[in-house]
């Protein structure tokens, strides 16, 4: 899974968000490193909806502006958990190797 896709799933983990809300949340989660542009965001959302990981939650029209909110589906939550666990394992393995290297460099 691409990093941007993982971050979008993570952004939707706690509450439904609209497009701009997802972009803002992804930027916060990545420390400003990743800021998806609209074309990229909606292509990813289309893909996630097609895969059954994300769904439309509700729509709002505020001051004539259409807001569509998206939320994680059960499968999306499970996929996010699976990816998180995979990344945790990878991070732990890398961390263990780095710890093992430190004494020899000291």
């Amino acid at each position: 899974m691409r990093e941007a896709t993982f971050l979008i799933l993570t952004a939707l983990a706690d509450e439904p968000r609209h497009g701009y809300g997802i972009i803002q949340e992804v930027a916060v989660l990545s420390g400003g490193r990743v800021t998806p542009l609209p074309g990229t965001l909606y292509a990813a959302l289309d893909r996630l909806v097609a895969q059954g990981l994300v769904e439309l939650s509700h729509e709002q029209v505020i001051d004539g502006q259409l807001r569509r909110y998206y939320r994680l589906r059960t499968d999306g939550r499970a996929e996010l958990a699976r990816q998180t666990e995979r990344l945790r394992q990878l991070a732990s393995a890398a961390d263990a190797r780095l710890r093992a290297l430190r004494p020899s460099h000291a």
Partner: protein, 355 residues
């Protein structure tokens, strides 16, 4: 402006997603560069239009095919205009030579007009030349010309002949280029017997008057005839707009065709998808390799000496010298089209971008 950029997306997609995307674009406007957002929308819109929104390379492949189709169509368009150009007239060559050298008798002059605009081995193209055209001799397919020659130089030395020729061309209303000096033959540079300064050289000069181009050769001393003339037609003016229009039409057709095949094969059986990719990739290799080989050589040649007429566009594409790979590429693409035309079941979980 972004509303216009949404035109890169398919119409159905625009209807469903357009307002939402525009709102998001509006929201991020204060913090994002407009050009970056625009490029992002066009890129993803074109991917969606080609039926592969998740593909990072589909737009590049479609563009390659589009440009190739445009170039071949432009060549075809200019070829058609050449076929409609004014036929060569042997009387015009006779008049031109006698006007330049009224006091000299030519040893040879063509007295028949060429039967076609383009010839191969002195004859119009016909099925009997199919093997020559396909198996490496396609370069012989070239513009027809008329010739005349002098057995003896019309003056006592080659520099004097050249100086007089320039004066006579100018007096007769011809525009001419700088002369080109070229060796009659080459020798192996490392060979001790090779002395390039001792090799006899030929002099070539091009002149144009109206739609006639006159190529004059003052040959090396050991060559007969000593001086010869070749008359050909200049590029018809209609070739330029015809080339541009044909390029646009060919490119549009190529884009639409690629999009259709891409949409039809996406989501199909993996074997069919793999086969379609292989056929496309191999066809592009067969089409583009001759272009990538020929175009730089032609450009180098074009810049190295004066030209009154651009080389014919298909020669820049390596055609018809490489007509066999071109035809094989066409065959591959036809098979890919056939593969795409096969009936197949649309995936149930179709995304918005596919619709």
């Amino acid at each position: 402006m972004h509303r216009w950029l949404l035109l890169a997306y398919p119409r159905d997609y625009r209807r469903k997603r357009g307002p939402e995307i525009l709102e998001t674009v509006h929201d991020i406007a204060p913090t994002s560069r407009g050009a970056r957002v625009a490029a992002n929308l066009v890129r993803h819109g074109l991917r969606a239009r080609l039926g592969r929104p998740a593909s990072r390379s589909v737009v590049v492949w479609a563009s390659v095919f589009t440009v190739a189709c445009g170039l071949f169509a432009a060549s075809f368009g200019t070829w058609l205009t050449w076929l409609g150009s004014r036929p060569l007239d042997h009387n015009e060559l006779a008049a031109a030579v006698s006007q330049l050298y009224p006091d000299k008798q030519v040893s040879h002059i063509d007295k028949d007009d060429p039967p076609a605009v383009f010839m191969i081995y002195g004859s119009p193209l016909s099925w009997s030349f199919a093997s020559e055209l396909l198996f490496g001799d396609g370069g012989e397919y070239s513009l027809a010309g008329l010739g005349a020659s002098f057995e003896q130089l019309p003056a006592d030395s080659r520099p004097r002949v050249l100086a007089e020729l320039r004066q006579r061309l100018q007096a007769a209303g011809w525009d001419y280029t700088e002369e080109i000096h070229s060796n009659s033959y080459d020798c192996i540079p490392d060979d001790p017997r090779c002395d390039p300064s001792s090799i006899p050289s030929n002099i070539t000069l091009y002149a144009q008057r109206g739609d006639n181009i006159l190529e004059v050769h003052i040959n090396a001393d050991n060559t007969t005839p000593k001086m010869d003339f070749a008359m050909t037609r200049s590029t018809p003016w209609s070739a330029y707009p015809a080339g541009v229009v044909a390029f646009v039409l060919g490119a549009l057709s190529g884009w639409c065709l690629f999009g259709w095949v891409s949409r039809r094969t996406e989501g199909g059986h993996p074997l069919a998808q793999g086969l379609a990719r292989f056929l496309y990739g191999f066809a592009m290799f067969l089409w583009l390799a001759p272009i990538l080989l020929s175009a730089p050589l032609m450009l180098s040649h074009h810049l190295s000496e004066p030209h009154l007429r651009w080389h014919l566009p298909w020669e820049w594409l390596g055609q018809p010298t490489m007509s066999l790979p071109f035809l094989l590429g066409c065959l591959m693409l036809t098979l890919a089209l056939g593969l795409a035309a096969l009936p197949y079941r649309q995936p149930a979980d179709q995304t918005l971008a596919h619709s």
